[in-house]
Symmetry: C2
Subunit: 312 residues, 2 copies
C-alpha cells in the first residue's frame, strides 16, 4: 500500500483504480462523475476516516528545519503530498498558512491542490469562506469551479450570514460533484456564544444541521454537504437536540486523538453518526515529519486507530 | 482636489499632508504611528464617509468592456485605484473576486493594495476571515502584518466561532495601527437566523457589539475595531438593544444609497452613531465606469450626498 515518491504513489493509485476499484464513488474519479459524498465514503472505506491537515505554521516549519519563507512552505507542502497522497482518505490544506505569504503562498497552495488531484487523493481546503450573493458565488467559483486554479474537492464554509447565504456554493458543489463542510458546532470555548444561541426554539447550530439535512436528503451512500462538529463538544449535541445521523452528512471532526476523544466519548458525541465522522488531525501526524516514511507511517497508524474508534 | 493619474494624485496627497494636514490621524500616515480609527476619522472628515468597493464580478467586467481574465481584473483594479485614490476615505477590494483567478488574481490584489498604500488612501480588504488559534493568527499576519504582501489598513472578519476567537487579529491590528470590521448585523434576509439568535438574553449581534465596545473603550477620536451593520436592517438595532454609539466604532454600512437608506431611515438605524457610519458603495459608483473621470465624479457626488445624509 505504501510506496515511494508522490508520482509513484499516484501511479500506483491510478493502477489500482483501473484494475479493480472502479466502483461508483471511488476516489480519484473526476468530479462531476460521482458526487463528493460518495467519493469520500469510498475513500474512508479504503483508507480509514482520517483527514490529515497541511498546517505549515512557524513552529512546525522550524521543527522540520524549514525557514518561514515561500521556499519553506513549498518544501513542507510537497513533503506532505508525497507522504499522504494515495494513503489517506483526504488531505486538508489550511489556507491561512498559505495566504500569509501572499500570492506566492497561494501559488504553492494551487500546486498542492493540483498534486493531490493528480494523485487521486481527495482535497479539502480549509478556508471557512462565507458571504452573500455575487461575492459568495465568486468564492464558489474560486474553490468549487470546474476550471479554477484553486479548485478542491471540498471547501469549508462559515455561515455567520445564515446557512442559506451559502446557497451559491451549495449549488456549485452539487453541479460539479464537489462538497462543502459548513461550520456547525465547534469545541473552542468561544464557539458556544454563537452556535448555542437560540431563535424560535432552535439553536444556530441546529439550523445548520436542519439545512444540511434537507440538502443531503436521499443522497446515497452519503451526502456531499458536510459539517464541522468538534469531537470534544461534550453534551452539546444532546442539549441542542441535533440529529447528526439524520443529516446524512460527512462530519469533519477536529479534536479526535491527541486532545481527548476516546472511543467512548466519540460515541457519546456522534452516536449513530459515528460512521460518518472524518477525523481531522494535524499535529499528531505532522509531528512525525519531516521524514516522508515516518509521516506516512504516522498517518497509517492514526488512520488504523481511528478506523477502530469510529466504527459506525 | 481632483487631479489626473494615480501617481499624480498620490503626489498631491503627499504634498497636502506635508504642507498642512500632518495632524494625528491623517490618512497616509504609516500604520503604527496612528491607530486606524484615528486615520479613518480624518479620512472621513476630509473626503466624506464613503468607502468605494472594488467588486470586479463578471457583469461589471463586461459592462466595462473587459474580459473575465486576469488581464481584465488587473485593468479593472488599476482603473479603480486611478479614479479613487486620494479622493475617497477608503477603498474596499472584495477578495473573492480576486481569489477566483487563483494566485494570479491574488497577485493583482497585492498590487492594488500596494498602489492604495502608496497613494495614501486607506484600504479595507473585504475577506470575512474567521478561525481560531494559530490559524486565526496566520490570517492576522496575512492581512494585518507589518511586512505581509497582502497587508491592508483593515480587514473584515466573521465571528461564527465567537468574537473572542478573533483575538489574534484584534491584537495584531492594535499592534500595527490597523483595523478590523467584524460582521455584526447584516441586512441579507438569511442573516437574522444567526445574528438575532439569543443566549442568556443577549443576541449574537449584541455580543459582537459588547466585545467591540470593550475593545474600543477610551480610543479617541474613534476606535479601530469596526463593525459591519447593514443600513437596511430596519428596527433590529432597537429590538436587539444594540448601543451602536457606545461602541465607539467605525460602522461599515452596505445598503446606503441605491438599495434604500434615506437620511431618515439611516438615522433610525444608526441614531447617535450616524457620524461613525462609513457607507459602503460599489454598484452605484462603479456603474459610472470605465471612464476614470466619470468614476471619480460619481465617487465625489456619492460622498457629498452621504456627508449630508450621515451628518452625525
Amino acid at each position: 500500500m505504501i510506496s515511494g515518491g508522490g508520482a509513484e504513489a499516484a501511479a500506483e493509485v491510478a493502477a489500482d483504480l483501473a484494475a479493480s476499484r472502479l466502483v461508483p464513488g471511488a476516489p480519484g474519479r473526476a468530479p462531476g462523475a460521482t458526487p463528493f459524498g460518495a467519493r469520500l465514503r469510498a475513500a474512508m472505506d479504503d483508507h480509514g476516516p482520517l483527514c490529515v491537515g497541511i498546517d505549515p505554521h512557524d513552529a512546525l516549519l522550524a521543527a522540520w528545519g524549514l525557514p518561514s519563507t515561500v521556499a519553506g512552505l513549498e518544501r513542507f507542502a510537497a513533503t506532505c503530498v508525497e507522504a499522504f497522497a494515495g494513503r489517506v482518505a483526504c488531505v486538508k490544506p489550511q489556507s491561512a498558512f498559505f495566504e500569509r505569504f501572499g500570492s506566492a503562498g497561494v501559488a504553492v497552495l494551487e500546486r498542492t491542490l493540483a498534486d493531490l488531484r493528480e494523485a487521486g487523493t481527495l482535497s479539502l481546503l480549509d478556508a471557512k469562506r462565507g458571504d452573500i450573493g455575487s461575492t459568495m458565488a465568486a468564492y464558489a467559483q474560486a474553490y468549487l469551479g470546474e476550471d479554477s486554479p484553486l479548485r478542491a474537492d471540498a471547501v469549508t464554509l462559515s455561515p455567520f450570514l445564515g446557512y442559506e447565504s451559502l446557497r451559491p456554493a451549495l449549488d456549485q458543489a452539487a453541479a460539479t460533484g464537489r462538497g462543502v463542510f459548513v461550520l456547525a458546532l465547534t469545541s473552542n470555548p468561544e464557539g458556544a456564544s454563537v452556535q448555542h444561541a437560540m431563535l424560535d426554539r432552535r439553536s444556530v447550530a441546529g439550523r445548520v444541521v436542519d439545512g444540511v439535512t434537507a440538502d443531503n436528503a436521499g443522497a446515497r451512500p452519503l451526502g456531499s454537504v458536510g459539517m464541522v462538529v468538534g469531537a470534544t463538544v461534550g453534551t452539546a449535541v444532546q442539549e441542542l437536540a441535533l440529529d447528526l445521523a439524520a443529516a446524512n452528512a460527512p462530519l469533519l471532526a477536529p479534536g479526535v486523538g491527541a486532545q481527548g476523544g476516546t472511543a467512548e466519548s466519540l460515541r457519546a458525541v456522534f452516536g449513530e453518526a459515528l460512521g460518518n465522522v472524518l477525523a481531522s488531525s494535524s499535529r499528531e501526524v505532522l509531528g512525525a515529519g519531516p521524514d516522508v516514511a515516518a509521516l506516512a507511517a504516522a498517518a497509517r497508524d492514526t488512520a488504523d486507530r481511528l478506523a477502530g474508534d469510529l466504527r459506525g
